[in-house]
Symmetry: C2
Subunit: 148 residues, 2 copies
Amino acid sequence: MSDIELDEELIDLAARYRDVLRHAVYLIRSLDANGELSTGQVATMNILALAPARVGDVARHAGIRVPSATEQVIKLEAAGLVERRADPDDARAVLVHLTDAGRTALATANRERNERIAGALAVLSEDERSAITAAIPAIAKLTNSLGA
Amino acid sequence: MSDIELDEELIDLAARYRDVLRHAVYLIRSLDANGELSTGQVATMNILALAPARVGDVARHAGIRVPSATEQVIKLEAAGLVERRADPDDARAVLVHLTDAGRTALATANRERNERIAGALAVLSEDERSAITAAIPAIAKLTNSLGA
DNA sequence: CCTAATAGTTAGGCTGCCTAACTGTCAAGA
DNA sequence: TCTTGACAGTTAGGCAGCCTAACTATTAGG
């Protein structure tokens, strides 16, 4: 198999994969349409669920710029879902903490979204579910490699 | 295996799948960051590449509302990438056509995006690529079932 | 100390999505 | 024929989320 053939195969797979991704974006959007928290808000809170984080860390993990993260944090704070506290080690920094209300809201949001996807997974055949399970690590790796 | 166990497994898979999707959204965004056309613009033009379509069809295929599709079409028209023509069969309707410039721009955009993904696919192992290939139909089915 | 780097906020702007209200056209029945 | 409801699309207004540029406050190195 020549290099050119290999490239064509890869590009064909890329095109099909891209098509799937495009639909996945709609899907994510539809998952969010029902709930009260947006994708970004859930993503931000999922970061904070592990540990309090600086605004800059939130931005980096979420793949957005610092001012955008500030904006998200301000909205979440207004909703009582997070708190901004001083960082004892650095007076410039702000440590964003999840509140109890935030933890509860996050758990609900995660559960709702997961259940909705689980419901759709239940409709698939066992083989189809296995195919998805088997592909998840590769997809994650692919996504990371593209993001770099 | 009880129903409850089954549900827990599904929800676990759902959570992992959702995590992958979330990253995929960043990926799509990063694919768009380089090019001159946005995701929505490429999606719209890909529809029109098959055949001229009404604004309502564009909206339906793109998963957005009609006014949003009008907006997209107006911008594409201003950029010289599409044309709006009267529908000979229905004076209410507008048929959106891709221009030659649009076709060229679309081909370039598609090629760039596909090559970028192909480059990342090339880094994966053969097994990983096979896993992704095998999962694509299932993922598409899952996405459709969630979108419905 | 001064100065450059760093953390975050504020200001202003853009895109893309939405709903509501409107114009113009079609089609079906009194 | 004429009216009336359905339909295609546009316009108007608003909101979320992202961006860059410019600013304040703090830290740390020379």
